[in-house]
């Protein structure tokens, strides 16, 4: 097991270095000469040359890449052109709001997707199955930015059931101030025993989380169905049937047990996808997270910020895959290669 973890970790490090190299390459794809852009339109040739030296662009590409890599490792992720702050500190400020949103969305996706997938597999080919399959394919076909706008229109503008934007009602800050401990508003209000604030944060989470959950819920329902149908004829299921277990137990307990590993792998995948989907959704809901930051950076063509967010999300995605692989290997020895 230790050997597996060590090998898996080493692979993850290699991939992260590769990811940094790709991000560096993207940064250097910018058409035109960054030095002359930096120096401004009326700069003289000497000023452009000075800018090139100042920006380190006169060094060989390999040296530039090494210094970029070193900078990333030391926490120097560049300075945002738009906010004039260090990109990494901007990201750290924004990350908790996004993680809270994505984790809530994944919880919704599991709570919806697993039972739907099981019902679908219980009656393959029947109307309920067709309906659930169509619904789950609809979920993965959803343009999330459009769904966000439509749900906002229906549930907050027309029906006035849910708040349209923000993480909580700002008015509450005067009567029930939110004490910052972890940066996650839901957790902070629980830790602070702040009931009204907790209610407000949860109500504000509903719409954005449901939107972000559409893709993962659809994918999980499809995976559970496929996986359960694959194992439902196996001898251990036959055995459980012979022992007189009810169908609910057969599906929910015995068949589902074998479906969890691929579902967990899918969760790591959709964690990464959902982080990116927040780029499309957060600004619509005025959610102060990475997605809003990324969308604003894209709108202002703030390259250091865009690449910083790209790197952060890619690393988070690699780490999520790593964690799922290690947890699976810990639970199921068959996953560990010799």
């Amino acid at each position: 097991m230790l050997v597996f973890v060590a090998r898996r970790l080493a692979l993850a490090v290699v991939v992260v270095v590769g990811v940094i190299v790709v991000t560096f390459a993207v940064a250097h794809l910018v058409p035109g000469d960054p030095a002359s852009v930096w120096a401004g339109p009326h700069a003289s040739a000497a000023q452009v040359a000075a800018a090139r030296k100042f920006l380190g662009l006169d060094r060989p590409v390999a040296v530039q890449l090494l210094s970029y890599l070193g900078g990333i490792l030391r926490g120097n992720w560049g300075t945002s052109i738009h906010t004039h702050r260090a990109v990494l500190s901007d990201i750290m400020t924004a990350a908790p709001a996004t993680l809270e949103l994505v984790i809530t969305a994944l919880l919704i996706a599991v709570v919806l997707g697993v039972p739907l997938g099981l019902v679908s597999a219980r009656h393959p080919g029947r109307p309920a199955d067709q309906l659930i399959r169509a619904g789950s394919i609809l979920g993965v076909s959803m343009p999330v930015f459009w769904m966000a706008l439509i749900l906002q229109l229906i549930f907050s503008q027309k029906l006035h059931l849910l708040p349209a934007a923000g993480e909580y009602s700002p008015g509450l800050l005067f009567s029930h101030p939110l004490v910052k401990r972890t940066g996650f508003p839901v957790i902070d209000s629980i830790l602070g025993g702040n009931g009204p604030m907790l209610g407000s944060t949860l109500v504000h989470l509903i719409l954005p989380a449901v939107v972000v959950a559409s893709y993962p819920a659809g994918l999980i329902a499809r995976m559970v169905r496929a996986q359960v149908l694959d194992t439902i004829g196996d001898t251990h299921i036959l055995n459980a049937r012979a022992l007189g277990f009810g169908e609910a137990q057969i599906f929910g307990r015995f068949a589902m047990k074998l479906a969890w590993p691929p579902v967990a792998a899918a969760l790591a995948l959709v964690f990464g996808y959902s982080l990116v989907n927040t780029f499309l959704v957060e600004s619509i809901f005025d959610w102060p997270g990475l997605g809003s930051y990324a969308a604003a950076s894209i709108a202002t063509l703030d390259t250091p910020a865009i690449l910083g967010v790209t790197l952060f999300v890619a690393i988070a995605y690699v780490v999520a895959n790593l964690v799922v692989d290690i947890v699976q290997a810990a639970i199921d020895p068959r996953v560990r290669p010799a």
Partner: protein, 297 residues
């Protein structure tokens, strides 16, 4: 990070006649998806004949019919400069679906040769190609496409390049699995023993066997590419006005959304229906032709 994908059965081939009919009967979703895709293709081909105001697909302006609600004259209403939204939605079938086809052709053109090389040649070639592929697969596709598109000048060409640049690794993985499984079979070994050239083995045995899974994967990917392209256009990184791109239309309509809901609703619905149609088709084709395929590849 990469597990070897579950290999589809090698005898998978396109069913014809009665078998095809049985497949469609057993899988009504495939029939619905196929019919919708056909409809979208017909609309795209006949757009100039179907669209009530073909001129509105481009740079038209009608100051006296700005932001009209849906009516018998304009079924989907009009936009902020008075263009007929139905006409623009109809012409939109010629934008992102066509981009999806171009992206997938490029992705296959890069991914298929690399995958065949990795799977058939093995050794260090395989190692090198797959490690590079792994790194590209470490990005969620939309993320890297976003980063690429944001450093390129905003245009449909940049958008196509950005998405194609992140889509090819999936085809390398698919083709490598196929090629490796065929390359290890006894009949290919006997081909080698007979001195048949690698080129001939690849074209006669490896590629034909990979065709069905490739077809399934392409049909599964069209919806994903359309969603990715629409997302980039929504963020302003793709199509520019007056291109009748659905993602761009949603973005432009956003500021008029309340109370003028039709600006966003119909173009977005077009994205949803198109992605849904292709995903139904792809899902159904997988069930029919390649039932062992994992959903995750």
């Amino acid at each position: 990070m990469i597990e070897t994908p579950t290999l589809p059965p090698l005898d998978a081939s396109l069913p014809r006649g009665a078998a095809l009919w049985r497949g469609l009967r057993a899988n009504p979703l495939l029939a619905v998806g196929g019919a919708l895709v056909l409809l979208i293709v017909v609309v795209a081909v006949l757009a100039p004949l179907i669209a009530p105001f073909p001129g509105d697909a481009g740079n038209a302006s009608h100051p006296f019919s700005v932001l009209h609600a849906p009516s018998p004259a304009h079924w989907f209403g009009t936009d902020q400069v008075g263009r007929d939204i139905l006409s623009r939605v109809i012409y939109g079938t010629r934008v992102s679906p066509v981009i999806a086809v171009i992206v997938l052709v490029i992705a296959c053109a890069i991914g298929v040769p690399l995958g065949v090389a990795a799977g058939f040649l093995g050794g260090w070639v395989d190692e090198l190609i797959m490690r590079i592929t792994d790194i590209f697969l470490a990005f969620p596709p939309l993320l890297l496409a976003l980063a690429l598109a944001s450093v390129l000048p905003a245009s449909l060409t940049s958008l196509t390049i950005a998405i194609a640049a992140v889509w090819w690794p999936w085809y390398v993985r698919l083709l490598r699995g196929q090629a490796a499984s065929v390359a290890g079979r006894p009949y290919v070994e006997s081909c080698r023993a007979l001195g048949i050239s690698r080129r001939r083995i690849i074209f006669r045995h490896i590629l034909p066997n990979a065709l069905t899974p490739l077809l399934v994967q392409v049909s599964l990917d069209v919806g994903g590419v359309i969603l990715t392209a629409s997302a980039l256009s929504f963020l302003g990184l793709g199509a520019q006005d007056p291109t009748p791109d659905w993602g761009l239309m949603v973005a432009e309509g956003q500021s008029y959304f309340t109370p003028d809901w039709w600006l966003v609703t119909f173009p977005g619905l077009a994205i949803l229906v198109t992605a849904f149609a292709f995903n139904l088709l792809g899902d159904g084709l997988r069930d029919l032709l390649d039932p062992k395929r994992s959903l995750l590849l």
